[in-house]
Amino acid sequence: MSISIKLEYNHLPRLSAAMRRKASEVVRKVTFEIRDGAAVRSRVDTGNMKGGWKAEMESDLSGLVSNAVSYVAYHEFGTRNIPAQPMATPAAEAARPGFEAAMKQIADAA
């Protein structure tokens, strides 16, 4: 079972091309930041799960962080007898204030 986090900012289509480029840079930066944050938080035995985190841009304003390793969800959310070791969730939460601040800065500068 794989997990993924999709990062979107829905009001951006109204913005100018220049703002859109800046917003895209922010989405890209934060998408990779979340991937790195998830990897750092990963339990390591073989390194398979830690190395399984991927970041990609689905479009200029949509980034995707995912991990296709079959057991990653059991670590992220826990099982009946293993406590969760959250990776993607805290990485996304940690990135959220910076993401929102950067987007606000772009909007304020318009």
């Binding site: 969800a73 826990g78 009946r80 007898n81 406590p83 969730t89 805290p90 990485a91 940690a94 959220r96």
Partner: protein
Amino acid sequence: MSELAAGAKWIYGVLTTDATLQGYIGATARVYDTLAPENATMPFVTFQYQGGYDVRTNGPARIWASTVWLVKAIGTGSTFATLQTIAGRVDALLTGKYGSNTAGQVWCVREQPFQLLEVDAGVQYRHVGGLYRLWIREA
């Protein structure tokens, strides 16, 4: 750091004092912080902090902590039906609610439903619940 204590205390308190939920998971309140004891009777409910961040003023002072918690019912069986009933009651007790205790004040909404199937030695263990956003201000 008392925000996380306030959050855990509030969730536990709400879920262990509801007669309807006790009807589903037992009067001894099988609600566990992070991990159930080995061989705990199923179904039971667990909750765990998943992540969060501090919301600040312009200076270093914290206004509150914005936190995410996974709250879920876990049990065996070939369908999610029974657990969905439990998770529904948990959601009714938490979503849109406000509470306070000695550690702080808590506001709660559900951000995402949650469902997971775990198979171990041929036995299906099902998890149903939600990811809950708790805004917590320490006392």
